[in-house]
């Protein structure tokens, strides 16, 4: 049993965090909405050597890729890091996003339209993006575009294409909770830091516990996908369910603790919260993801200590 990322992956995460902080952190997201700064982002990512990683071929590279996605999430980085790392350049596509529904919507595509994007159906097919519209520019989906698709073909991208954005979201949640903790220590009301109020302390403890559960599940799921476990296809759906539950908990706590200040674009929390929405709503929200998980568990094992979630396959000793 080894439940932590490789030292190399952790080091890549630290280096990427430092590099992105040096050029402004969440200010990069502010610049992207204003239509600037993308060259600076791509320059840093090129220097870090991210695009040499081959998560499909090497578990070590897969762990490094996850760490990179988490670092990108910490600053709501306006670049499709997860989508690019989940792709397969050798198969002719440089970025992949899962999208379903009558109109396919893809986050961040307008920032790197040159990548030969494909869309995965979240199962076993992909279709090339033949054209992408402009970014919506809305508050909650500022960098989301509608796309037109070509012909569907078979594909095995879905597990990584679903999982790596969960790691991006993980970075966002870690960052949001870290900023909340600091705000609790800095913000004074009734002549004392709001961290001194037990109701808030308990809420922080509960939210942290939820986040830690998701952190561990994200690592487990990464291992499952990278090592080709039989249940990987449902594990990624379970991970996404946890990601969405945790996001709701963390951002609810973060906004409540920050008060009105948390809604202002002056603070990073507002950017993390708004930019998390594209990951949380696309391709599916909480209920749709949970339904897909339950459907998947009819045929794909969800491994536990005493069974695999398949109907009728559990330990029958008590029957």
């Amino acid at each position: 049993m080894k439940t932590e990322l490789t030292d190399d992956a952790l080091e890549l995460g630290r280096v990427m965090d430092a590099a992105l902080a040096k050029v402004g952190g969440a200010d990069l997201a502010r610049a992207a909405e204003a239509g600037t700064g993308i060259d600076e982002v791509t320059g840093i990512l090129d220097q870090l050597g991210l695009w040499d990683l081959r998560p499909r071929e090497s578990a070590e590279d897969g762990e490094a890729a996850a760490a990179a996605c988490r670092s990108a999430g910490r600053v709501a980085l306006p670049y499709p890091v997860a989508e690019r790392l989940a792709a397969d350049p050798d198969a002719g596509f440089g970025a992949v996003a899962v999208a379903t529904g009558p109109v396919a919507r893809v986050n961040l595509i307008s920032l790197a339209p040159e990548l030969n994007w494909v869309v995965s159906d979240g199962r076993a097919r992909r279709a090339p993006v033949v054209s992408a519209g402009p970014a919506l520019g809305t508050k909650l989906g500022p960098l989301v575009s509608e796309v037109e698709l070509g012909t569907w073909e078979s594909d095995d991208s879905a597990p990584l294409a679903l999982l790596l954005p969960c790691w991006t979201l993980l970075g966002m949640l870690e960052s949001a909770l870290d900023k909340t903790r600091q705000h609790m220590l800095d913000r004074k009301q009734f002549d004392q830091p709001i961290a001194s109020f037990q109701a808030l302390q308990f809420r922080l403890a509960d939210t942290t516990t939820t986040l830690q559960g998701f952190q561990e599940l994200a690592k487990y799921t990464l291992w499952s996908v990278l090592s080709g476990q039989p249940g990987a296809a449902v594990d990624v759906l379970a991970c996404r369910v946890s990601a969405l539950e945790t996001a709701e908990t963390v951002f609810r706590t973060a906004h409540q603790m920050h008060g009105a200040m948390g809604f202002c674009d002056e603070v990073d929390l507002s950017w993390l919260s708004r930019h998390s929405q594209a990951i949380r709503r696309l391709p599916w929200g909480h209920s749709q993801t949970r339904k897909r998980l339950l459907d998947g568990m009819a045929t794909v094992p969800f491994a536990g200590l005493y069974g695999d979630g398949l109907v009728g396959a559990g330990d029958h000793a008590l029957l």
């Binding site: 049993m1 990322l5 509960d206 559960g213 339950l294």
Partner: protein, 384 residues
Amino acid sequence: MEFSDSESSAALRAELRTLVREHVPQTFLGAFTRDPKDLETAQAFCRLLAEKGQLTPAWPVEYGGSASSQWDQAVMREEMWGHFEPRGAQYMGVNWVGPAIMRFGTDEQKREHLSRIGAGTVIWCQGFSEPEAGSDLASLRTAAVPQEGGGWRIEGQKVWTSYATMADWCFLLARTDRDAPKHKGITVFLVPMDRPGIKVVPIEAMVGPHHLNEVFFEGVPVTEADVLGEVDAGWSIVREALAFERVGIARYARCDRLLNMAPAALGDRWETLPEELKERWATALIHVRQARLLAYRVVEKIEAGAVDPADTASYRIAVTQTDQEVAEVLMDMLEERAVGAADRSDLFARAVDDHWRYAQAATVASGSIEVQRLLLSRSLLKTK
């Protein structure tokens, strides 16, 4: 990363499952029932584990253990709790009373107690909580009153004392210095339960028989030979003793087993359940997996010598709430059978009934969830 059992853990898991299959009846739902055969099953299983060297694998070799890895200890916790704890009340002696005696006991105390705990032939109870001292344990009032000519007499009352009706010994906390600050002046006594002046009164309760008792101490004589460690040093001994049991019960293991069993146990009625309930079942499986992974996070930190009480606290917050969530999901799935199995052979319904009743105490026992939240938030909000 690697989330599979190691070869040794997998072998241990297989061995334990074989032992349970061969020596614990399929109808066993725990040692604490009104049927004395269940306690006999547990006692016999403990002796068997002891013979196989599997009752105290975590103990140092010099005391009859095999100094097993933290991961193997996790497997032991999972397999025992997953199979309704066939060690019965033994886990307390094995998990922390024994280690505390190793750490603080005299040679005489080690001779007296360790071999019997290691052989699975003795049951301990813990004399901690009192009517006025629950989460605030250091407020305990049970007094050790000094006697002319040496020794003390114990006067006071303990409450919620699990297994007191069947225990041979009590790990007792009593106040030896009334004038000292409340965390000082407490002493640990190792007291045989048949000593004159001890009276046990069972408390009828929803969690089931044997779990809750009152224990009255009326002039119970104790001597220097009964003291564990130094007089007045009991608080630090208890803190250290309970740290031996950092991870605690692997509640997630039984949750995992019962949830996985549900579809087959419900048979055709599974198909008629509302989709919303099946989705809650799937979500509960995710939360059980997360609780297990949080336990592994603590185990990895213990192995690395870097564990913090806050790590254990977040695990306990997660696992106790998950225990209760699973209990609610399973009860919903039982539908009308949730208020009681019509037939004693309906083991699944009986197991869920037992799980639900015991889960009510999950966020209260062994340090309430509020205490865990305090521990965790204090650590999080320490100025870095």
